[in-house]
Symmetry: C2
Subunit: 222 residues, 2 copies
DNA sequence: ACAAAAGTGTTGTTACTACACCCATGG
DNA sequence: CCATGGGTGTAGTAACAACACTTTTGT
């Protein structure tokens, strides 16, 4: 239900892009050039255009600002404190994205001083209300991996069960029992064996698996 | 991260207000007067003002349009299809509210033809993208009652366990075993006995309970 | 032969489901 | 004394948690 009133509010999107880097959960940030936020870091984002959806805007900005293309993305929530941006009233729709670390060829644009992955445990000083956004994004991500199959979006086409387990351990931030994990993950049927083995490694080669569906499915996992 | 661009977008809120009416889950709707939506029904809502948050706006509109005041409210998600409103580009932040049925003294304002509760199983023709919003709201509500204590917001200060069970049955749309329900609900400790009995009824009087906390808590319930 | 990760079962405990009868009160 | 909803326990089943050793490969 809408009525007409005077209003001059801008609509933006901001995206928390996550990946798995070695042994930590990493988030993609850009370092700003403009006042009043010079040198602070922020999530990639910006104002939407008149005709695009917020999701399309988020995808476009990821492409333009970071070179990231094939991503899983979902809406997190909208942040709308009147003071969240120092210059204008800006309502921001926050998104979460997950990318396979391999995919990421970071672009450095002249709009920012830098574009970089940051360990979520050691974040730099952040602009706007981005600390809170990132906190909410991590909570949602942790919850969601336990009742859906979204981890497909950080893994390559084929992978070993140990790699899969490692992804869960990094996102949840705690160790998982190997035998229980394998039993559970196989029983819920989100992955299937390729009947192929990992290429040469200095140890017994692992069997390679793939996801049965590379689409969001809701299933109790951990 | 924001940059300046030409943009003329309005920001609105829409709230799905739920209550328990007899044996069904009911949602509060207003019947519209303006073109092009004459006679269609919609959730209470409207444009936010320059200085208020979307949550404050949602609460204000509930007060103004329906007389509803003491409510539990939470953000659902933002709906932003460019075509969702026929006249302007309007991005709407949708909220869910829960009210005790007793509280509700519906106001009829001259802005609408009518304000009325509707059984969620038999909804009238709806304006905008409100069918989808209501569908999402019901799903979220069903999920949330199973892992939080939010049902406190539809019950009076004291209540019987049968009344509590009835609320769950209506929201979830399925019967629940009485003995298992009581065992579980008492074990998670979200309610406590008042050591008082229900006033005269034509049957054995039930013990009255109250919620230990009338704030959102996350606990596995059903 | 050694290092390094892969792979595999069992047992105890806890939570969930299904199910039927007696109790207290008002009319 | 009858109708109405209130209140209670148990047994079988399924899910979860804890735990250690053998296998396969490369060097």
């Amino acid at each position: 239900m809408q009525q007409t009133t005077e209003q001059n509010i801008k609509v933006a999107v901001d995206t928390a892009v996550f990946t798995i880097a070695d042994n930590h959960l990493a988030v993609l940030l850009v370092q700003m050039k403009q006042e009043p936020y010079v040198d602070l870091w922020a999530m990639p984002g910006g104002l939407i255009t008149q005709e695009e959806t917020t999701e399309d805007a988020a995808l476009r900005m990821l492409r333009e600002q970071t070179g990231v293309t094939d991503v899983y993305i979902e809406q997190l929530r909208t942040f709308d404190s009147p003071q969240r941006d120092a210059l204008h009233r800006v309502v921001s729709v926050a998104y979460i994205a997950l990318v396979p670390s391999a995919d990421v060829t970071l672009q450095t644009t002249d709009k920012y001083k830098a574009v970089q992955w940051w360990d979520t445990g050691k974040l730099p000083p952040l602009a706007y209300d981005h600390p809170r956004m990132i906190d909410k994004a991590i909570r949602r991500l942790r919850a969601k991996v336990t009742y859906s199959n979204i981890v497909w979006s950080v893994l390559p086409e084929t992978f070993t069960l140990s790699e899969l387990q490692h992804v869960y351990e990094v996102i949840l931030g705690k160790p998982i029992d190997k035998r229980n994990f394998r039993k559970k993950i196989l029983s819920v049927g989100i992955v299937e064996s390729t009947r192929q083995k990992q290429a040469a490694a200095a140890h017994r080669p692992a069997e390679l698996y793939r996801f049965t569906h590379r689409l969001l499915k809701y299933i109790d996992i951990l």
